[in-house]
């Protein structure tokens, strides 16, 4: 008889874990935002984390941005030629980058490079009792560890997104104008005519929310890591997977809300 119940048990366990984890994550974020309201503000730590999350990811962003723009121009060009619409190459590349690819790919890169490192660092601080040591000194770990990362994520992501888009547009230019037959004036003229402030705002909102999402998930997973090296490695994997999946799901919802 027990095999009949097994699927229900699995579903029930999954639902239970999902609801408990979500609740704990929301509590975690609420606590962090509660403590933002009170000084001291550790500006130096925020700057340090912007360096870690933002500045050190720039190279990866430049590389991925340029190749994304290039391949995008190449693919789009061959599709547009079929309709004789290759003059709209510029706006199609720019709009895809600004509204979709810039925020999403930049966020995935940050999740892979900085998010994982953040989880590992905070996780190691947890298992080596450094977080307890802060707490024992009557210093608030949220203020020292969590809030600077959340703020640095919210500040860094839009900037990385902007770099990604600019580099991507130039990559598209190199391929579109250099390799295929689109003229330079058509490429940038089209971008000027068809890209609105609204499009740029959509990209901005997305990258702001991704910045929070990545640092939130990474800090949470590190802060509540399991025991030992195995616990930290598990937490790191979970943080990257969960961030990546959530970025894509949240992106869909953001898009459908912002387009209506």
């Amino acid at each position: 008889m027990s095999w009949i119940l097994t699927p229900f048990k699995i579903i029930g366990n999954f639902a239970h874990t999902f609801i408990r984890e979500s609740g704990r994550m929301v509590c975690f974020l609420t606590t962090a935002f509660f403590w933002v309201l009170f000084p001291p503000y550790l500006l130096r730590r925020i700057v340090k984390q912007i360096n870690f999350i933002g500045v050190k990811t720039t190279l990866v962003i430049v590389l991925t941005g340029s190749f994304t723009g290039m391949v995008l121009a190449l693919q789009t060009y061959y599709a547009l030629v079929k309709f004789g619409a290759e003059t709209s190459l510029g706006p199609v590349v720019a709009l895809s980058l600004i509204r979709e690819l810039g925020p999403v790919i930049a966020a995935l890169m940050v999740a892979g490079r900085a998010g994982s490192a953040l989880t590992a660092e905070i996780g190691i601080m947890r298992i080596s009792e450094q977080i307890d040591a802060l707490d024992a000194m009557a210093l608030n770990p949220y203020k020292y560890l969590i809030i600077p990362n959340l703020l640095a994520g919210i500040i860094s992501l839009p900037l990385l997104n902007a770099i990604f888009v600019v580099v991507g547009v130039w990559g598209g230019y190199a391929v579109g104008v250099g390799l295929t037959g689109v003229s330079s004036g058509t490429y940038f003229g089209g971008i000027r005519d068809f890209v609105d402030a609204k499009d740029i705002l959509e990209g901005l909102y997305k990258s702001l929310s991704f910045g929070l999402l990545i640092t939130w998930i990474s800090c949470y997973k590190g802060y509540f890591t399991g025991y030992g090296a195995e616990g930290v490695s598990k937490a790191t994997t979970q943080a990257v997977v969960l961030s990546s999946v959530t970025i894509l799901i949240w992106d869909y919802f953001m898009t459908s809300i912002l387009l209506t």
């Binding site: 601080m125 009792e129 450094q130 040591a133 707490d135 000194m137 009557a138």
Partner: protein
Amino acid sequence: MIEVVDLYKSFNNHEVLRGVNLKIEKGQTLALIGGSGKGKSVLLKLIIGLTKPDRGKILINNQDISKLRGKLLKQLKQRFGIVFQGGALFDSLTVFDNVAFPLKEKTRMKESQIRDTALAELARVGLSDAESKYPAEISGGMKKRVALARCLVMKPEIVLFDEPTTGLDPLIGKAIHKLIRDCQKSLNFTALMVTHEIPAIFSLVDRVAMLYNGKIIASGTPEEIETSQDPVIHQFVHGELEGPIPIQ
């Protein structure tokens, strides 16, 4: 000074502490012995207010730390110092910055004053020449000494030690014991020390308590514990494989 009354604590249905009663007088040093993974570190963390008990009281000068919140809890925590098992030094800071950290964050001292105080504390533990090293670059014994310096720099009234000599060679272990005793003589703090150093610890502390099955099964002077006829205590203190304690 410290009084633990009927303390219970469990983690995911696993009862770690089941009614702990313990008393430490002002100025005394108490050694807490007991098997590995049986809740000694948990008890320290409860006493210092890092986690909350499920039931029971922890009185520090008749003030229940488990009921305090916010500012009062903060003030009480500042009278404590704790030396964690691995030292718990901040990896991203140098030895000097680790020791200066509590002064920078918790006091209004001037930069130069902080420097002098932290260096004096490092000199006390014999590490004046390691000030610019990072925790990853120093040995386990040095880490313990830095952790002790970081804890003493705030002049705590009560110091908790979590296995201060575990993982060190016997000579360095002895040196740490001597250092702790010297510091205690000059600073007069009350100490609670989790340790496995039997019988070495018996000549160093005022009282010994043993944690077994989530309870304090005995508490007394070192002589009383050493000569105890209770089969559990006798087996543990003399390190015998045969006896009532199951060995897993």
